[in-house]
Symmetry: D2
Subunit: 339 residues, 4 copies
């Protein structure tokens, strides 16, 4: 951290700040400058708390945290990439490109069975489908719950696909973990710390979606909560952030792919369905995601989007999904990746 003193700070004020920092167990270094004195603070990671501790002292103008606050998820601390395995699938090995697809929500046995068959036929590897749905309005369709879980698992089994589904509450983790091969933490729960720790106590692969307004640093710190409980199997998922643009549902931050790769060893998936919110933009952004270096892709597919209970506007019809996967296949070859 760097503490900036005001240009008119008195020598006693500077001394007092140095003393304050030292008393809290950190090592301050005085940096006299032309305009002002700055004080560097060495050592690991005191940033956030220490900033709070000096900002109220007389003569202090600002305090700037500089070091990265994460450990277990950091590339600096573990250089080799983490590979998360789901059955025979390997996310993060630098070679595979894994596709998860399926409807936003499980709506009926017929719907999930037909979705599963369609995405399997087109080349998807993992079946997705929501049983518990977070909804902005209490009056919207909120999923089939346990029955949805059961149907999803059945559809996965029937088509030889592992399944991923969202878990929203600590009390549901056990049930979801017993039916699903991968547990999704949704964007709204990225900072539900009790839930992060609960899934951290399982050894299941976790799909951690980026919060709507989360910085990369905050997102990685949420992953740190999971790893810190002993579960190293975290896949990050970029799904768009909230900005002023309204044509797209979110702003799909694809730069997060190479950025996460340089900051962390964890695999990253991209979700252009939520990232754009418009089915017409999804194929282009799926191609872009693969080219940017993502390890995996999540796509919402519905047998009849115009009848979907949710997310119809961003769901692909099965035929369009199949065409898209064909495009990804040729791209993968050029990039030395395998689908």
């Amino acid at each position: 951290m760097l503490v900036l003193m005001r240009s008119d700070a008195a020598p006693e004020e500077i001394e007092a700040v140095i003393k304050h920092i030292r008393e809290r167990g950190f090592e301050p270094v005085r940096l006299p400058g032309a305009d002002r004195t700055a004080i560097g603070v060495l050592g690991t990671n005191p940033a956030a708390t220490l900033r709070d501790m000096v900002m109220n002292l007389p003569g202090v103008q600002d305090a700037v945290p500089v070091s990265k606050p994460f450990k277990l998820v950091g590339r600096e601390w573990k250089a080799e990439p983490t590979v998360v395995e789901i059955g025979h699938l390997r996310l993060g090995d630098g070679k595979s490109f894994v596709i998860a697809a399926g409807p936003c929500a499980v709506e009926s046995e017929e719907q999930i069975m037909s979705s599963a068959a369609a995405v399997k036929a087109a080349g998807a590897h993992i079946l997705r489908g929501g049983a518990y749905k977070p909804r902005t309005s209490p009056y919207a369709f909120r999923g089939m719950a346990d029955e949805g879980l059961r149907l999803l698992a059945q559809a996965g089994k029937a088509n030889g696909m592992p399944v991923v589904t969202e878990v929203m509450n600590v009390s549901d983790v056990e049930a979801v973990a017993s039916h699903a091969d991968m547990l999704q933490i949704g964007a709204r729960n990225m900072q539900n710390f009790a839930l992060l720790e609960e899934v951290g106590r399982t050894r299941k692969p976790i799909l951690l979606k980026r919060g709507m307004s989360a910085t990369l640093e905050e997102w990685l710190l949420s992953a740190e909560y999971v790893l810190n409980q002993g579960n190293p199997n975290v896949v990050l998922c970029e799904r768009g952030i909230r900005t002023f643009e309204t044509y797209t549902r979110n702003t799909f931050d694809l730069s997060a792919v190479p950025a996460v790769k340089e900051l962390s060893h964890l695999p990253i998936m991209v979700d252009p369905s939520h990232g754009t919110g418009r089915w017409s933009l999804i194929p282009s952004m799926a191609m872009a995601g693969l080219a940017a270096g993502a390890d995996a892709l999540m796509i919402e597919v519905h047998p009849s989007p115009a009848d979907a209970y949710s997310d119809g506007a961003q769901s692909l019809r099965p035929d369009r999904f199949a065409t898209m996967v064909e495009g990804l296949r040729s791209l993968a070859v050029a990039l030395g990746r395998t689908l």
Copy 2:
């Protein structure tokens, strides 16, 4: 909702959309225009789902939801303001200006007792203090939990002040409700729907903070979750939204005060401590909050901010808090309000 057809949409495409809408139980009205045909959809609130249902149909360019999706919290459905009572305090009566103050977190018996005495002496009405703290990093101080709850309640009692504290997990609601007079839902949990419903099943006053990237509409819909469970005692709390500006911790959206007043009948509190993140800006923004028409104010006060475990940079020293309350008192008189 208004469905916009493409300017080159075929008549059959227009017919198909009209039929699709009608089959789902809504009434479509054709609106021919110079450039294109639009289709209006009448009736209450089908917006989000219906938009999803038409966006994939051929010839559709866009679908624009127009009606407000909330009911119980809406000013249109209940014109008179809701007054939330906490002991003899009345939030939302248009007259009282209620001040909640105290440290970010309960850190020790001595710290919370001295904080309580100081804010009481200065004129605060409610004591705040965190027992369970949501922290971005798993390595930061996360509160004293049950012991913190107990100490907070004790400090409130000793000074004759009701207390407010955050509840983060469904499983803690009962314990927190047994010690606190008002339950706070933090910004990160604004869309933790299970938690909203759980506090909705109590009859305690709920302080619902606005999420970091929540629109007014989403915030009000979260309140709707609470009211929908039968608990009408919700106070909204504006605490800043996330934008590109970095000088302040958040961007304190004071316009939310009159905006919420025209959209809803619920009372609104403002929190300039989180809203700005800098103690030096807090007094001006507290004055502004009162002048904007807020019903209540929340301020972080710490006996020694430079020693706080968290939020020191945005905590006022007791003497500065007392000076600020003096300023608010004269302002209140001019506005016909009482402190």
Copy 3:
């Protein structure tokens, strides 16, 4: 600036960075830490360029600029507040609260004469009105140009009010300066540097609106362009920034008032008409602006908002404006200010 080396940076890489900085005339200080080495750079203001110079060197993880890059506008370099005089009005003296009001655009002689008379009667001090209008669409009304200037000046004179109007192009500065008492630089031109320098060469009071996505630092640096040409008469104007919220046209960042006051000695005006975009929210936010410590206020008033060529949704009717000014008057008394 603080340069952070990677934790695995080789000693030669650290030496090379130190040498690179020293060769460019700055003084580097080595700060060894537990995890990594950091390098502090002393002296005034090399931040932006120097950061660029080291980011490509091997072993560098990041470089964080820390000092404030402005001089002439900075409170640190000139502690006493600047007072900008317009006739007998004094903006920034800590006492006066100055109100500029009038229509978005001059639309006709009758409209501007009646607007001027109405706002004068209600208590406004300065008449505003656009002659050149920046419009997002080329097909919208773009102002009456020279004729508008002439009519505005005439209406000001007839009512004994100085006038403020926007200048959009370098080539118009002379003409606008000959008719107007204060020149406005609009939000879209906040970084039109040639225009800033041109108005910097006049000695007219300049009203510098904050850009839609400008940080406080960028805004103050734009003011620095004007002062740097010798014109110290700059008034800053907060008019809302662009965020994800759509209920309001912009997010009115009132914290900018105390923040600018601590960073700079320049006066600040607030514009809740553009800040909120909804007439119903303006009176509350004008009150809040005064309470937050603003030096002045700008309000759009139109004799018949429903007939305005632009900004009707955010224009007050004269009677509502008059009521609002009454409210401001009592508030000013309580705050020791004068209207």
Copy 4:
């Protein structure tokens, strides 16, 4: 446009709004609903002004513009893609992928000559380089002006490459147009309407960068200003938007590529140098840009980024640029594109 009446609006209020709209020459259609009456307004494009005209009328709750306000740039009005030719290069033909590269600014004859030779050798088609530089601070390097223009043109000629450079002021358009093959309008000038119209009066290819906080609609309307003056040769350039994320300089909105393609017939270039602000992220995002369907790419390359006067952190070294172009070449083959 759709006007929403309050649920408690009186019949006379509804009549008054209908009359008001009709008197202004538009055709209102009454849409009675369960909760409230809405009023649809037919016809082309009255949106913005008309909204302003009704928002102040009694009983109106909101007014929602729905139609797209652009004409000349719209895909609906011209289905076939526009191809912009620069010499033998064809931007927008669906086949070519054109690369513009070079330093942020022309710094010296030696620097631009060596840059040009290097990017040419690596496979770039167009030489970029700034002669007039918009800089946030008045104290930063602002370009070599006329001398820079001359050197850029010379370097282009020597290497057989057309050149693109930014024009910032109306008064410089003629000079820049006489040296450059393509005129760039920078992000800060995207709404400098006089400048847009001035370059619209030339017939030169125009590279129109997206403003830092511009919506797609505003960006396309700025292009409309150019086309409206008779110059159809506009290439749009996505260069990142401003969000809360700070790890990257901007948030590179790649979804803009397919979005612009569905809204407009104009070609689109992507600039990952400004889009990310970090050289290490550029190659991945260039690949992503090609895969997303962009027509062209702009990359900052400097012979020695650590010595650059500006943008060193986001400039590639020539060897890294060459490696990147190799990657793009194989990708292009797989996509049926040619470099």
